[in-house]
């Protein structure tokens, strides 16, 4: 039932309703609204009950195992939320930050510096609101760098075919043509294809390492050499930093520009689709191009660099200083982890992934790259099942929901047919992994013996399989009262 169906004319959450105010004579009548917006008219209890009950229809980390590959669904510590929500932080106006928000700025400055250390870059800006915006900022800096050298011929961005869709989309937004690079049979970038692709038109290459295929590209140094030699720059998509934090640094691998997803590696909440934060880091030569704001310490006072101090900056990417509340959560998280804790993130996310991979293979699942170690995530393919039993990866995923487990990422990367990209993260226990393995084996069994049960899943959720074709063909995107 929609909240609109609970609406009754004249009802209101009265504790929120200010006293009646007449229209102001100062606002010309022709600028006024004639009919009120069709917002619901409900009591406070109606609203609380409606949205509380809706929340219960979600699977979430707080309630379920959520091995959604490439999304790093780990525990979001309650302390991060609580402490970032202290009135002192919440009540600060963005335009009062320097005057009255020194506590906030101190945290942001320290976060900036810690991320610099973790990534091995020369400078970091926290401005970007999400990973994709970080990518755009990175691409824009690459462009600005080449142009600053008077090199306007570099119009092409290389992107491996396994990359997140945001990579090519961001490159396009940044004004580049995208050229895809093939993947070899080990899941690495195909070096021969790369060799062929680079040239004076190459602005750079956008890479995730470990890649979205769940493996670490062993030829990263060779890739860096080839691209750098051609005059291009290396862009690092930090989506998978969780696998290597404290072990290898993008800066040390030869990357010139990076972005991070704080809502992945640094455990800020996903919130049903954001807000995230996508800080960017750069090598020395790109420092002048960093997006604003960048926070600096003048003695004990913190302030934001002005445009005149950073004249070559690509500019601002968001209205104010970025998703500050998210940045505070990441700051708190890193402070709780400390150095040793951060290293263990990579170790245990990798241990969990490799253990899970091994056990699934033992239970009859087919890995995409049997010859490779898993990074913090890995791919299995259900193509045999699809062929023999007509049970697809989607069917299998839906059946997992019935068992109280969120499904892994399906059909991504597109290179691998009927694939599951599985990322358990380090915060899940062996018992949870073992229970998941049992469920996977049970569904495999079901797929063999009663495939229709799997194909018609889910059976125990608030809704059964939804008609997505109808949703797209006859878009119903907003309620209209009759």
């Amino acid at each position: 039932m929609l909240i609109f169906d609970r609406s009754r004319p004249g009802r209101a959450a009265l504790a929120q309703l200010l006293p009646e105010t007449a229209e102001s004579p100062l606002i010309p009548g022709h600028l006024l609204r004639n009919t009120p917006p069709a917002l619901p008219e409900v009591s406070e209890l109606d609203a609380v009950r409606h949205y509380t009950r809706l929340s219960q229809q979600n699977y979430a980390i707080d309630t379920q195992f959520y091995p959604l590959g490439s999304c790093t669904m780990k525990y979001n510590p309650k302390a991060c939320h609580d402490l970032a929500s202290l009135p002192g932080f919440l009540d600060t106006h963005p335009l009062g930050l320097e005057r009255a928000g020194q506590g906030t700025l101190a945290c942001l400055y320290e976060l900036q510096e810690m991320l610099r250390e973790i990534t091995g870059m020369a400078g970091v800006s926290l401005a970007c609101a999400a990973g994709a915006q970080g990518e755009f900022a990175g691409v824009a800096m690459i462009r600005a760098y080449h142009l600053s050298r008077g090199d306007s011929a570099r119009t092409e961005m290389l992107v491996p075919d396994a990359a997140h869709g945001t990579n090519p989309a961001s490159a396009t937004m940044g004004g580049f043509r995208v050229r895809e690079i093939a993947t070899d049979s080990d899941g690495n970038v195909d070096l021969a294809a790369l060799d062929q692709a680079v040239g004076p038109q190459t602005a750079g290459i956008m890479l995730t390492n470990p890649s979205t295929l769940g493996v670490f590209d062993q030829h990263i140094q060779a890739i860096a050499d080839v691209v750098h030699k051609a005059g291009g720059l290396l862009y690092y998509d930090g989506a998978n930093l969780n696998a290597i934090a404290g072990k290898v640094r993008p800066g040390d691998m030869g990357f010139d520009v990076i972005h991070l997803n704080l809502h992945k590696t640094f455990s800020t909440p996903h919130g049903g689709g954001g807000p995230g934060a996508g800080p960017v880091g750069v090598d020395h030569k790109l420092l002048p191009f960093l997006p604003l704001p960048v926070i600096v310490a003048d003695g004990a006072r913190y302030r934001m660099l002005t445009e005149s101090e950073q004249p070559q900056s690509i500019g601002h990417l968001v209205t104010f200083a970025g998703n500050v509340g998210v940045l505070l959560r990441a700051y708190i998280y890193i402070r709780m982890l400390g150095r040793a804790g951060l290293e263990r993130v990579a170790e245990f996310s990798t241990l969990n992934a490799n253990y899970l991979l091994r056990k699934l293979v033992e239970n009859g699942f087919e890995p995409a790259f049997p010859q490779r170690r898993a990074a913090h995530e890995f791919i299995i393919t259900l193509k045999r099942l699809a062929k023999e039993r007509h049970v697809t990866a989607l069917d299998f995923a839906k059946r997992l929901l019935d068992y109280g487990v969120h499904a892994p990422t399906v059909y991504f990367p597109l290179l691998i047919p009927e694939c599951f990209l599985i990322e358990p993260t380090e915060t899940e226990s062996k018992e949870t992994l073992d229970a998941f393995i049992q469920v996977m084996a049970a569904i495999l069994q079901e797929a063999e013996t009663e495939p229709d049960r799997v194909k018609s899943a889910p059976h125990s959720l608030p809704v059964r399989r939804l008609d997505e074709v109808r949703a797209a063909r006859h878009p119903d995107l907003a309620y209209r009262s009759e």
């Binding site: 929120q16 069709a38 619901p40 939320h81 009135p87 824009a140 869709g165 493996v215 290898v248 689709g273």
Partner: protein, 453 residues
């Protein structure tokens, strides 16, 4: 290491299953030469310690009585908003890719889209963008994609648009060979200069941005501007404050045909100031432009039993399907903020929202009336204002702002950098959260700073 559950036994058993001697071995595909030295990070703090630290940091933020707006507004946020939006099931869920296991979030997003469409009087809304400035950048890009009548990539961007928004648009569209043409304002009214606009009549313009309320707090002549855009084959992009739309004419009804796209920042709808973010951007448009709308969309459909349900839809526009040809690169957006805004709008309702907007307006009127009686401070523009207005002070704006801050007041936003032509100007905002006493206090302190003791 605080959030890793593995016991020594677990590690032993897992390594045994893998047949490896140590966890380190699992990293053996990484070239040794790349392995880094131990990171130079502070040691781990226990939650107890970090709590003490963060309380101290929050305490270093000085609470100022807020008279600043300029894109971020202190409205009262009902306790129920975050009590519910902060529930683990909303907070710790991902983007609702598995619709059946995410009906909570999807249902909320559908309601959000419905509310925004209604507020703007347009057909559809996406499920959010990052913030107001990026929403305007996306709107500009969308307008260029959408406008089949125009072959130019010229955008008319009034100077009455928030300067922070304009700089973000420049950054984002800068690489795409768009031309942003600044439209000057009338120094008398504080509105877009109609004469300046007229000089573009008959030229090929892809879009006109129409801010309502404009950056100076002044109400623009939106009907005429929208009609101008329609007459000149330009897409009319409404940049609006969603709170004010409870009172002001919605973009869909501007002029004869309405604006084509509405965008803006949703922060006034239940989102705390929080030093600048996270807020959320919104974007609405007519059905005809639906396939050029960036960002996620939630649709209502039915399940195999015919039961209504919700799902992400029209994903073919998005980057994970269309990759380099997507309508935008946006992926993660501001889902949780939109959840809060939905609850906020449900709690306020049409009348509640209207009263918040009107009370803010009336409070601003009160302040301006009070200031009118103080020598050395003047209102700059004659145009009708909503809940912000520009004042000019006899003393330098910076000194006034510093003086007010010393007295516990955030006095507004200085315009001297972005609008030096206005002299010692400050943009002041009064929302419904300011009491009569607060306003008195502002008047009293500014009078004192201007030498009226």
């Amino acid at each position: 290491m605080p959030f890793i559950p593995h016991t020594e036994d677990d590690i032993r058993e897992m390594l045994a299953a893998l047949g490896t001697a140590s966890i380190g071995v699992l990293f053996d595909e990484i070239p040794a030469s790349l392995r880094c030295r131990p990171l130079d990070l502070p040691p781990a703090l226990k939650e107890m310690e970090v709590a003490r630290l963060m309380h101290a940091r929050a305490g270093q933020n000085r609470p100022l009585l807020c008279f600043a707006g300029a894109g971020a507004y202190e409205h009262h946020v009902p306790a129920a908003v975050w009590a519910v939006a902060g529930r683990g099931e909303f907070y710790s869920a991902y983007t609702p890719y598995q619709a059946e296991a995410s009906q909570g979030t999807l249902h909320v997003l559908y309601e959000y889209q419905s509310m925004m469409a209604s507020l703007t009087a347009l057909d559809v809304s996406n499920a959010s963008l990052y913030d107001g400035a990026t929403s305007l950048a996306e709107a500009v890009l969308m307008a260029v994609r959408t406008n089949r009548k125009s072959h130019s990539r010229r955008i008319l961007m009034p100077k009455t648009v928030h300067p922070f928004y304009r700089r973000v648009v420049e950054t984002i569209v800068g690489s795409q060979a768009l031309e942003l043409i600044e439209l000057p304002y009338d120094l008398e009214t504080g509105r877009i200069d109609p004469a300046a606009l007229e000089t573009h009549s008959g030229t090929d313009v892809a879009a006109l941005v129409i801010p309502q309320i404009n950056f100076f707090g002044v109400l623009e002549a939106v009907d005429e501007l929208t009609d101008w855009a329609a007459a000149n084959g330009a897409i009319a992009i409404a940049l609006v404050n969603p709170m004010a739309l409870a009172v002001l004419k919605p973009p869909g009804e501007w002029g004869r045909e309405g604006a084509d796209i509405a965008c803006g920042d949703g922060q006034p709808l239940g989102i705390p100031l929080s030093g600048g973010g996270p807020y959320f951007g919104f974007m609405c448009c007519r059905k005809a432009h639906l396939h050029q709308l960036p960002g996620r969309l939630v649709g209502r459909t039915v399940d195999v039993d015919g039961k209504p349900g919700f799902t992400l839809t029209l994903q073919a526009r998005e980057q994970h399907i269309r990759r380099g040809r997507a309508t935008s690169n946006i992926c993660t957006n501001q889902g949780l903020m939109v959840t809060a805004a939905t609850i906020y709008m449900a709690l306020l309702g049409p009348e509640g929202l209207r009263r918040v907007a009107l009370q803010s307006h009336r409070n601003t009127v009160s302040l301006m009336q009070g200031l009118a009686g103080i020598e050395g401070v003047d209102r700059v523009f004659a145009g009708p204002f909503f809940h912000e207005a520009v004042i000019r002070t006899r003393r330098p704006a910076r000194e006034i702002m510093d003086g007010l801050a010393e007295r516990g007041i955030l006095g507004g936003y200085e315009l001297t950098r972005e609008y030096p032509e206005l002299g010692e100007a400050i943009l002041v905002c009064v929302t419904e959260t300011r009491t009569r006493e607060d306003i008195e206090s502002y008047l009293c302190e500014i009078a004192s700073l201007l030498g009226h003791d």
